[in-house]
Each structure stands twice: as C-alpha cells, then as structure tokens.
Amino acid sequence: MGPSEVHEQCSRRPQQACGANPVRRIIDRYGGEPEMLIPMMQDIQAAEGYLPREHLRTLGQELHVPLSRIYGVATFYASFRLQPKGEHTITLCLGTVCYLKGADRIRDAIRDEFQVPPGGTSPDGKFTFAPVNCLGACALAPVMVVDGEYFGGVSPASVVDILRKVAAGRQPAECAADAGNRQEEGREARET
C-alpha cells in the first residue's frame, strides 16, 4: 500500500478511545510501516490521553520493533506522556519573548497554586502542566493555552484566576472571551 492510499484513509484526529484492537487499527492506518512509529504513538496518545504500557507492548510486537526502542522514543520526545493526564491541559510558552515578559513567574505561579510540577499532573488530577519552548504566537507574549484555547498577554495573577475558574467547571472558551476584553486594559496597566 503506497503512501497515497494510506493518506486517503488517514484520519488525523481519532475521536474516542477505541475498542477491540485499537492499536492494530492505528497500525493499519499507516500501512504497518515501522518508520511511522511516531505518528502511531501520537494517535494512541490522542485517543487515550497518554501512552498506556500495554498499547506500547502491542505496538512493538506488531511492528517487530523492540520495546526498548519504543520506550526510548516515548521518553525522548516532550509531547509523549506515560502517565494519564489530568482533566485539563495547560500549555505555557517559555519561548524567548514570553520569557522576557515574565513567563518564568507565571510558571511558578501555576506550580505553586495548583501543586502541579512542570511536565506533571496535579494531585487532584485536574491539571496536566506542559510548558513548551515556543508556540509561535510571539506577538501575544506571554501565552498560555488551556485545552486548546489561547490566552495571550497573561500575568501570574490572571492565569491563576483563569485556572481557578476552569477548575471550578467553566469552559476555557468562556474564560477566553472574558479575558480578551480585559487583555487590552491589563497590558496597558502593566506597561506603565
């Protein structure tokens, strides 16, 4: 099966955790080619929220790739998680521009307020915190993303506020709408 046919079948965002042989289905999606290991692992993680050990073992067996290599790949790349993730995912940009605008202190504020270490999950399972080295939205520095929703121009105080609301059950999208209105004012205030 050539790359063209595989791509026609390829669905980039699997909807939910699959049933019977989820890993086999993902492997078939990429024509069983071992070089597509990383996209396969990304699809497993997209479906399950993390990389369950048994799925990785199955992947190794089906692809005839040693488990040690799969484990090496799973621990090398920053986007892979071997532990289940929290209810909400916080991504904080630590790129140069965001850093110069205080992203370090924002990271500390999130860590201290919710007891979630960078790269880990909070004890109550609410938040997984994944700092990232640059999201490419530098004009909006500092930038935080919660469940895919962008928040630009944030501060230690505003992120704690947003995340408290999210923890209490508000949708990140609603918080973004509120935050958008206050962004302009906030930025002007900080720049004086």
Partner: protein, 268 residues
C-alpha cells in the same frame, strides 16, 4: 591505497577504514571510551578528537568514525587536539569523579582533577557511552535496554525501568561497560543484572559448582544452534576445568595408576 599521516608517521590505509583503525594498527594511541572493535562506532564520548587537514584549515573530527577516502594528514598531538581531549576528559571526570577507571584514563591524559564541579548526576558512574545498548542490540540481538530520556536526564534503562522480559542475562552489557556501572552479580542460584534488576537462575557446574551461565542465556544460545552449549542444556553441565578433568580421566582409564581423581560433587 590512501596514505594517512599521523603526526609525522606515514601509514598505509584502506578506503573505508577509520583514522582510529589506522592508528591502532600503527601503534599510535588515541584515547577512547565509547569505541569497541566489535560494535558500530557511536562517537558519543568525543575523547578521540584529532585534527585533519582540509587544505587551508584544520577540522576537528572523531577518529573512531572518520572514514579514510583519500590521502589524509592528521594531527594527533597538536596543542588544539590535546586541549580538546583534555577538556572532554575533565567534563567526564566532573560527571563521575569517583570512578577509578576514569581517574586512570585522566591521569594518562595528564589530568589529576576535573577542575569543574559536578553538575550532573551519573548513576553508578555511567557516562552514557552507549556500549551496553549497542552490544545488546547489535551483537546479542535482544535489545533489552535502551537510552531513555534526553539530555542530562538520559540514562540506560529497561522499558519502564522494570526488570526486562526480553533480557537473556548473558552479561554482555556488563562485559563491555568501561566504568563498572553494570554488574552481573550472582547470589546463590540466581544472577542479577545490576542496576536493571533483571534476575534469573544460573546453571552451575555439576562437579564443582562454578557458575556457568544464566539459564536464559544458555537457552538462547542453544536456540541459535551453538553445539558447544549442548552439554550445558542436557543437565550434564560442567565448567571447562571439570570437563577437562573428566576427559583426562576417561582417556587415562586404561593406564596403570588409574589416572587423575574423578571430579567430585561439591555441595552448592
């Protein structure tokens, strides 16, 4: 056939071999840590740095994997190359200052102390040379261990840091480890690969009780058709000394005097 000049020494070379191959054959010493003649070059330790003439400038390269393709002029003992090797040695020694093997190597390079603080954590002096991983994957074919993590957090590990289900406890990793990080330790009837935690039974000599091999390793090797280990597998395993004594006794059975004493059972 290209000529490789190592400092003043002119050496014949084959196309495709490395600078290190040529040096070793001609008695020129270049320090190495992650190199092993039976394994693919990995060039991670960066100790074997030398300079090569690029016509107009000198390039720093690793001798263990630089392929000779044409005539080459190499400076092994230039100030720049010596300084580079010493710098790398200091970094390694700073990482694992207690390692006797690294201390000896450093002394040979003229270094008594790292001159740098220890800023990274080396589990049991591991310097991440990767020899164990490569031996297991390339030579043994099992690939039970790999390098996990990234950067200073990297370490040699079994999957999920648990005792490996694939490991045959052959001990090749321990044999190639230059700094003693990995040990093949026998306790009674079991052998453990430290620090991985993988354990399994060992076969002992039926006569003297000396350790022969891990059961799994013996099985694996027999499974690959090695006749030499058949003796181990059919319950009549003897160590080489006892095997020789047994053979000598059988050969001399007909001689006057009765020959050497029979191998004795020794309690385990």
């Amino acid at each position: 056939m290209p000529t490789v000049i190592l400092d003043e020494k002119s050496c014949a070379a084959e196309v495709g071999e490395t600078i290190l191959d040529v040096a070793r054959r001609n008695g020129v010493w270049i320090p190495t840590l992650c190199y092993h003649p039976a394994l693919e070059a990995y060039a991670s330790c960066r100790l074997c740095m030398v300079e090569i003439d690029r016509g107009g400038w000198w390039q720093m390269v690793t001798a263990c994997n630089y392929p000779v393709r044409r005539d080459l002029a190499v400076r092994v003992e230039s100030e720049r190359a010596v300084r580079a090797r010493q710098g790398v040695m200091r970094l390694l020694l700073a990482r694992a200052p207690e390692s006797p093997e690294l201390q000896r190597l450093a002394a040979r390079l003229g270094i008594q102390s790292p001159g740098l603080p220890t800023v990274t954590v080396a589990e049991r002096n591991c310097i991440l040379c990767g020899l164990c991983v490569r031996a297991c994957e390339e030579r043994i074919g099992t690939a039970a261990i790999s390098l996990a993590g990234r950067g200073v957090e990297r370490k040699v590990s079994t999957p999920f840091d648990e005792p490996s289900a694939d490991c045959i406890l052959c001990g090749a990793c321990a044999a190639v480890c230059p700094v003693g990080t990995i040990q093949w330790e026998v306790h009674g009837d079991e052998v453990e690969l430290v620090p991985f935690g993988t354990r399994g039974p060992v076969r002992r000599c039926a006569a003297c009780g000396a350790v022969l091999a891990a059961e799994l390793a013996a099985l694996a090797v027999a499974g690959r058709g090695a006749a030499a280990v058949q003796g181990l597998m059919d319950g009549e395993g003897f160590c080489w000394r006892c095997k020789r004594k047994k053979l000598a006794r059988e050969l001399s059975a007909g001689l006057p005097g009765g020959g050497p004493p029979s191998p004795r059972e020794r309690p385990p």
